[in-house]
């Protein structure tokens, strides 16, 4: 379909305006982080800092516990992603390869977890974790985030395994591989990109959590995650928006970068998980 020059121009103009409005909040976050306090408190606001204050980042990193919080977020994410990936690789493989009686129901049973309000689930989990002494420990998040992650990863991986031909492991089994051996030595290596994409998606889910961290970790400052920590900055240093923004950049940046470089895979996962 050929467009006239005017139509092309109009398309780009609309696109620029739309992207400009929609992405402005992200731009504003970076600008605020780079502005001086004086620039933040002036009207009309300055849309580009006269001298970008990169030192705000180092200041926030070293004078606030932001690095510790990021470390805690990473630990919780690694733990919950690890746990979820192990169980959902097996489950996804099983759902993809075996037509089990009741298998589909069991798969849907795993999926139903997506429907539950976190604010409902958090009450009994709090009671359970309190009874077994996990409150204040990152282990509580590893388990709680698994509730968020497993329904997604199981179905994402099932979809991914479905795209790998069965002949692959059948050939391996003819050559004397056991079924599990065929899965580990033949299917999983082939599925590496899918596994990586799923793990990244799981990481995003864990990284973004606030509800569970707020409930299970509030009493133990040393174990706060980044999302929990930054909300306390908002209350405490209400006027220092440049510092809060710099901290927010630290928290948002890993996910933004993952998204920019791996958008195709993440989007694939998002749409695959939702089709079910």
């Amino acid at each position: 379909m050929e467009r006239t020059r005017f139509q092309s121009f109009a398309l780009y103009a609309v696109l620029a305006v739309v992207c400009g409005i929609l992405l402005f909040p992200i731009y504003w976050l970076f600008v605020t982080a780079l502005s001086t306090l004086a620039e933040i408190r002036q009207l009309p606001p300055s849309f580009w800092p006269a001298e970008p204050q990169w030192s705000t980042f180092t200041k926030v990193a070293f004078e606030r516990p932001i690095l510790l919080w990021l470390w805690n977020s990473s630990l919780a994410a690694i733990g919950s992603v690890g746990l979820s990936m192990i169980v959902s690789v097996f489950a996804g493989y099983s759902l993809s390869r075996f037509s089990l009686r009741g298998g589909r129901s069991l798969g849907l049973f795993i999926l139903t977890a997506k429907m539950l309000p976190a604010t409902l689930l958090v009450i009994p989990l709090f009671g359970i974790f309190r009874s077994i002494g996990l409150i204040g420990s990152l282990w509580s998040l590893v388990l709680a985030h698994a509730t968020l992650i497993i329904p997604f990863t199981t179905w994402m991986l099932k979809g991914y395994f479905d795209t790998i031909p069965r002949e692959l492991e059948q050939a391996a089994m003819v050559d004397g591989c056991s079924p599990l051996g065929a899965m580990f030595r033949v299917v999983l290596p082939v599925a590496t990109p899918g596994l990586a994409a799923t793990a990244l998606y799981a990481f995003v889910l864990s990284w973004a959590d606030y509800a569970y961290a707020r409930t299970f970790l509030t009493n133990a400052q040393g174990s706060w995650t980044a999302n929990l920590g930054i909300t306390t900055m908002k209350g405490e240093y209400v006027t220092d928006w440049n510092e809060i923004s710099a901290a927010a950049v630290f928290i948002a940046l890993p996910i933004l970068l993952i998204y920019l470089f791996l958008e195709r895979y993440l989007v694939g996962g998002l749409t695959a998980g939702a089709e079910k």
Partner: protein, 301 residues
């Protein structure tokens, strides 16, 4: 017992392996999702302040539910939730569909444009709150400056102490965070439409509008149905954005069922009562999604 029993390679035993592989996930889901769900249900029928597992069970009572349905706070929360669901889902759909159709055109830099329109998806909810809390800041926020500049208002609006204003701040933050999902899903749907459909329609003399009406919309319908359900469920259950942005205030103007559940459980330590609110929320979620999925499957045939 001979070891042959464990030889899962034998065709007659293969399904055993299938169940075995499924077992850890099912067990984990049962343990950390389904069992807690039943604990909640049980708690909702007890007058209980603090949930512990080892305490003796309190007597069965319907008090929590009775208190709930006679509480004006509960009906207010229902109303706020419904308003938010309608406003946010509708706007997410308009923006999401619009951006998807826009970047589905063929032009140079399309890949980059696709990357950009869905970028807010990658911003964690709490960070989105930080950004919008600053934009709507009552002293130096950009929005106040813009409103005065445009002549909408002559004085600074205190966005977070004015009920209607606070509701809109919450809604705008949620729309910004939620529309990329619609955009991504719609785009995936659009790309599954074969080019041939459009070419054939053009040969038959269908106008652009007709092609949109008779090809694009019907093919997208199932995707849009599922997406709508997921967006509605998300707004229904969301906690982080409202909790951090307004904490349900001012004057409960942004107190949804989720926020009310949480505050009753961890603000006032009425975990039995909170569980009852949570159970009602869950039932509403299930009913809403069944109704809509039902409609969708009807539309498909």
């Amino acid at each position: 017992m001979s070891l042959r029993f464990l030889d899962l390679a034998r065709p007659s035993r293969q399904h055993w392996l299938g169940y075995l592989l499924l077992l850890p996930a099912v067990a984990l889901v049962a343990l950390i999702i389904v069992y807690p769900l039943f604990v909640s249900l049980d708690l909702s029928f007890q007058k209980i302040g603090m949930a512990t597992l080892n305490a003796p069970r309190k007597p069965f009572t319907l008090d929590n539910y009775h208190k709930l349905f006679t509480s004006p706070d509960f009906w207010n929360a229902c109303w706020v939730t419904i308003k938010l669901v309608v406003v946010v889902s509708a706007a997410c759909f308009v923006v999401g569909l619009g951006t998807a159709l826009l970047v589905n055109n063929r032009f140079k830099g399309r890949t980059l444009a696709r990357l950009f329109v869905a970028l807010p998806w990658a911003v964690p909810e709490v960070i989105a709150v930080v950004i919008f809390a600053w934009i709507f800041d009552s002293s130096f926020g950009l929005m106040n400056w813009l409103f005065i500049k445009l002549g909408v208002t002559s004085q600074m609006i205190n966005w977070f102490s004015e009920p209607t204003a606070a509701f809109w701040v919450v809604a705008i933050t949620m729309i910004w965070k939620g529309y990329p999902f619609v955009s991504i899903m719609t785009l995936a749907g659009l790309q599954s439409i074969p080019e041939d459909f459009y070419n054939a329609a053009k040969v038959d003399g269908a106008s652009a509008l007709q092609r949109f009406r008779y090809i694009t919309i019907p093919v997208l319908m199932p995707v849009l149905g599922v997406t709508l359900v997921l967006v509605i469920l998300w707004v229904f259950r969301d906690f982080s954005i409202i909790k951090v942005l307004t904490d349900g205030g001012p004057l409960k103007a942004t107190q949804t069922l989720s926020i009310m559940t949480y505050d009753q459980a961890f603000g006032f330590f009425n975990m039995g009562y909170a569980s009852a609110i949570g159970i009602v929320t869950l039932i509403l979620c299930v009913v809403a999604s069944l109704l809509m999925l039902g409609r969708k499957s009807q539309a498909m045939y």
